[in-house]
Symmetry: C2
Subunit: 202 residues, 2 copies
């Protein structure tokens, strides 16, 4: 079946459910947004955002998982986030400041995204105050997510972070490489190997 020929609305149900957890939105109000979204399919390894390119879109993950990473001053790839399940993904700093993205966002498996451009989103803000509210809450959420991330970096050991990953995103442990998981935890592969051994002995 060629999914591209089906009406877009059929693919936007998860998004509607997701938004209704944030703010009550009628079918009518939601309907206004449909023309501004489009489907984007990525194969494993392809990029939603390239490093050093300006990020001009926000994506909602309909299916699949992605990782975000950057290159540090030792030229290592550092994984900063595993994105799976139904949520928004963007390189937020690049998106709001329209500067080149330090982050790359890459598909870890085939993914289906619902994508809206910055221009489209701003038009939605103009035509609908509920979308303005959604935009503000989205921004606040980005702050809260980042604060949580910083708190985890500050307070949890690599082992605790690994256990959290097992708990919250067990699928990622299958889909990501040892290198990616280790850099996400902030340790070397060798230490990750020790952590896994410790956990298997618990």
């Amino acid at each position: 079946m060629n999914t591209q020929s089906l009406p877009l609305v059929l693919f936007m149900d998860k998004l509607k459910q997701f938004l209704r957890q944030i703010v009550p939105i009628s079918d009518e109000e939601f309907g206004k947004a449909i023309p501004y979204f489009e489907i984007k399919n990525l194969k494993k390894g392809e990029y939603f955002v390239h490093q050093n390119k300006i990020c001009r879109q926000i994506a909602f993950i309909n299916k699949g998982s992605l990782k975000t990473y950057y290159i540090n001053h030792k030229s290592d790839e550092v994984t900063s986030c595993f994105c799976s399940g139904h949520c928004f993904v963007t390189s937020y700093k690049s998106f709001i400041k329209q500067v080149p993205s330090e982050l790359a966002i890459q598909a870890m498996e085939d993914v289906e995204l619902l994508v809206i451009s910055r221009e489209g989103l701003y038009k939605l803000y103009d035509i609908s105050s509920i979308w303005q509210t959604i935009g503000r809450i989205l921004a606040e959420n980005e702050y809260l997510v980042m604060e949580k991330y910083a708190s985890v970096l500050n307070n949890e050991s690599a082992k605790e972070k690994y256990l959290r990953l097992m708990e919250e995103q067990p699928d990622i442990l299958q889909k990501a490489s040892v290198e990616d998981i280790a850099s996400y935890l902030g340790v070397t592969r060798r230490t990750l190997s020790r952590i896994r051994k410790e956990i298997s002995n618990m």
Copy 2:
């Protein structure tokens, strides 16, 4: 001289300068905000935000320096930020969600703050679209500051962080205790002592 009896406007000049770096604002527009601010003086050791209390204000630092800290799961105080110079301070998560603050914000020396309540700020949003813009940019800035913080946590060694502190906030090295600086760097006092020795031999 009793500073309390002088007109508030005399104390708000630094704030005006600070805002004009963000957005052009006329004297008239700025004047509208004056009634919503008040001066708050804190002695060394006193708190602007208490842990577990809801934060209902934002402060602009007119004079002095503060630190933000929280208690981690090992019951250690962890310093997360040293605030000095002219900038805004608040426990942002608590402020936007109106939940008890994990952070405490404490004066490291006598400080003079310009304080606006959440209600006052929201009223300013209503009466002036430029203040709405300021509010949004403030929120985006909080995101960017937190992202920067996370990036430093992720990418810099304790020694690099110490050198950055020497560079960017040298006054803090005098005002904060060894414990505070060490927990800010994410190491023990012992390691900070080694870092200082290393740097003095450079």
